[in-house]
């Protein structure tokens, strides 16, 4: 077989900034990907997966600066799905997102129509065609970007942590489609999803400036390397009986109760209806469900960011106003940048404590503890220059310091390793506030591992 993509002696370093000394990301990195194969590139967050994916699409260093050396040989062009889909969507409807690059390529109207129909059909999102990309869930946005690749048909498809936030059925559908497409696929990820074993031909594990290649799919040696590298959750996949038991589990003395909640967005056909839902202090509840079933909407209602049309929300036995819920809930958003605005990570951590008018000495002690616990590597660096994973950890540390009664972790595992994600959840569990934790995830294994009960929404 011939190589579709060949990388030889690639080295790269970003420019340095005040407070953030740049490190060499790659030194003499070399690998080949055969034509028509599917390769999974595993590396921990911060190792340079996004940078490498953007080097292969000629975006880095063109837009970022930095020193790049080495050779890249490509048979054809590359297409990419960014780690954060919001960065890539800018049209008013899903159809226009797909049509835009085809129009830009100067294709005929008939050809654009044919390719667009085919892309929506093959990725199974025909129902999203005339919806606004901004209104789609994280998983739906990623599926839309895959349909853009499907329509533009580049030689090499690069997916940067794309499948993590897609539900289990969606992952299977997309990987089947990718495999059958016969295209060269390169998937960058920090998590070894079990499903990759059935589809990928080659695995790369990158860490400590060393790249190990495992051809012919899964092997015991590869399995060991995955576990040693922290790319998978420890423990086994729960069986149906265990999941059913977790789903049926209820607790006494609940902290938060939702009764007959109904919610719908204006200008949208989406509506959410929840008969009963509760959270208990000191217990973790996992919410699982397909993309777009309303998991994030439920979280926003609990956090007091959305007000339901009907129903009651009781906190500690009293009817809770949105402001009360705001003040009692921590919410780890999918996008950590919503909350970051100060010049250093340390200032971000101090901000909430300063608002509480705590003495500086107490603030310093707490902040230093949070920096160590959450592994904030550059506390005096501007958050805006930190990696996506580091910003997510910073966001978690900010909330950990606020010691609120309820912690909502909304699919916050993108950009951080499974091990780090568990560490974050464990840190909240061990917090003095002993909060009720709500974990939103597609990962049944994670749900079973970290939660005391499971709440299922939509089909799974």
């Amino acid at each position: 077989m011939t190589s579709e993509l060949s990388v030889k002696n690639l080295s790269f370093q970003y420019p340095s900034y005040p407070g953030l000394e740049s490190q060499i990301l790659f030194t003499d990195l070399s690998f080949d990907i055969e034509k028509g194969s599917m390769a999974v590139f595993l590396a921990l967050p911060g190792a340079g997966k996004t940078t490498l994916s953007r080097i292969l699409t000629s975006l880095v260093p063109a837009y970022t600066g930095g020193q790049l050396s080495g050779e890249i040989h490509l048979e054809g062009n590359t297409g990419i799905v960014f780690q954060n889909p919001d960065e890539q969507l800018f049209c008013s409807t899903a159809e226009k997102e797909v049509v835009f690059p085809l129009e830009a390529a100067g294709l005929s109207r008939e050809e654009i129509g044919r390719r667009t129909d085919m892309a929506f059909q093959k990725t199974g999102i025909e129902y999203l065609r005339f919806k606004k990309p901004l209104h789609l869930s994280g998983g739906e946005k990623r599926r839309l970007l895959i349909s853009v690749l499907c329509a533009t048909d580049p030689a090499v498809w690069i997916l940067d942590e794309t499948l993590e936030e897609i539900d289990i059925i969606g992952r299977k559908e997309i990987l089947t489609f990718l495999k059958e497409s016969g295209k060269t696929i390169l998937i960058f990820t920090a998590k070894m999803l079990d499903i990759y074993k059935s589809y990928a031909d080659t695995f790369f594990i990158y860490g400590d400036s060393t790249l190990k290649q495992f051809k012919d799919g899964w092997s015991q040696e590869f399995d060991k390397a995955v576990k040693d590298g922290g790319f998978s959750l420890e423990g086994r996949m729960p069986d149906a009986a265990e999941i059913a038991e977790l789903e049926s589990k209820t607790f006494q003395n609940t902290l938060l109760n939702l009764d007959n909640i109904c919610f719908s967005y204006p200008d949208s056909d989406f509506s959410l209806s929840i008969n009963k839902f509760s959270l208990t202090q000191g217990k973790a509840t996992a919410v699982i469900g397909t993309n777009g079933c309303g998991k994030s909407t439920l979280s926003r209602i609990i956090a007091g960011l959305l007000v339901p049309k009907s129903g009651t929300i009781m906190l500690n036995g009293e009817k809770a106003s949105p402001d009360t819920l705001n003040r009692n809930c921590s919410y780890l958003f999918q996008n950590p940048d919503y909350q970051l605005f100060l010049p250093t990570a340390r200032a971000e951590l101090e901000y909430g404590l300063k608002l509480q008018k705590l003495p500086q000495e107490q603030i310093d002690t707490k902040v230093n503890k949070a920096i160590a616990l959450f592994g904030i590597k550059h506390p005096d660096a501007p958050p805006v220059l930190m990696s996506y994973g580091q910003r997510k950890k910073l966001q978690a540390a900010v909330y950990w310091l606020l010691e609120k009664k309820i912690v909502i972790i909304d699919e916050a595992d993108s950009g951080i390793s499974s091990k780090e994600y568990r560490q974050i959840i464990d840190a909240f569990k061990a917090s003095e506030a002993n909060p009720a934790i709500l974990v939103i995830t597609h990962d049944i294994q994670l749900a079973a591992l970290v939660s005391d009960n499971i709440f299922r929404m939509g089909r799974l």
Partner: protein
């Protein structure tokens, strides 16, 4: 009514010019009336009124400062001008999507790249508004039960509490510039002569729209501005 965006663009410019014409308060109010009717017909009242909430600081500032220099009538006139222009632009962009806007600009001879830049810039305004709302929500969650709430009537404290939100939005907006450029590049912008998949289509033919809607509205505007 799905009015052709090319006619809407001309009407928008005509309306804007009318709101800058040196006419009295009554005529401004007459110009504003059809816009208000259209606004409340097209949008939910909360959404339409929300647009004016955004310019409330400007209106308040005008109401406080201008009477000392130009009198009450001039103050009302300036305020109606702000409201009118805001309503015109809001209604245009509410009823015209970015693709139609690009095609409209290109119809009037603007080069593709320039039309694309203008279209993306204008479509970023609602996006920024959404970002502002999300960021504001995220910042609310940084308060705890022991954080003192800023007094509802303490304008300075309320303004200060907005600064972190504005800073976050600004950071995100600046960060999005190179990322948007990347997103456009990987979609192949500028590599070939672009085509159009869905040309501007309206149920009513252009000439009928011109006669039925464009011409009467234009005549009414001109009458309000120049006659009686």
């Amino acid at each position: 009514m799905n009015l052709d965006p090319r006619l809407k663009l001309i009407l928008m410019l005509l309306y804007t010019a009318a709101f800058f014409s040196p006419v009295g308060v009554l005529r401004y109010a007459l110009l504003l009336l059809p816009l208000m009717i259209a606004g409340f017909t097209i949008c939910r009242p909360k959404e339409f009124l929300g647009v004016f909430k955004l310019i409330l600081p400007i209106l308040l500032l005008t109401a406080i400062i201008t009477p000392f220099f130009s009198g009450i009538l001039e103050t009302v006139r300036i305020m109606l001008r702000f409201i009118g222009i805001t309503a015109v632009f809001f209604l245009f962009f509410k009823t015209t999507d970015s693709d139609e806007f690009i095609q409209t600009l290109r119809f009037f001879g603007m080069p593709y790249r320039m039309a694309l830049i203008i279209s993306i810039s204008t479509s970023y305004i609602p996006l920024l508004l959404d970002t502002y709302r999300d960021t504001e929500s995220a910042h609310k969650l940084r308060y705890t039960v022991s954080t003192p709430a800023p007094s509802r009537w303490n304008v300075i404290a309320r303004f200060c509490s907005m600064l972190p939100v504005l800073a976050s939005v600004l950071i995100q907006a600046i960060k999005s510039i190179p990322i948007l450029a990347m997103a456009l590049e990987i979609r192949g912008v500028g590599k070939a002569k672009p085509t159009v998949f869905r040309p501007i289509q309206c149920k009513t033919p252009l000439h009928k729209q011109f006669l039925l809607y464009f011409l009467p509205i234009t005549v009414i505007i001109l009458i309000i501005v120049f006659l009686f």
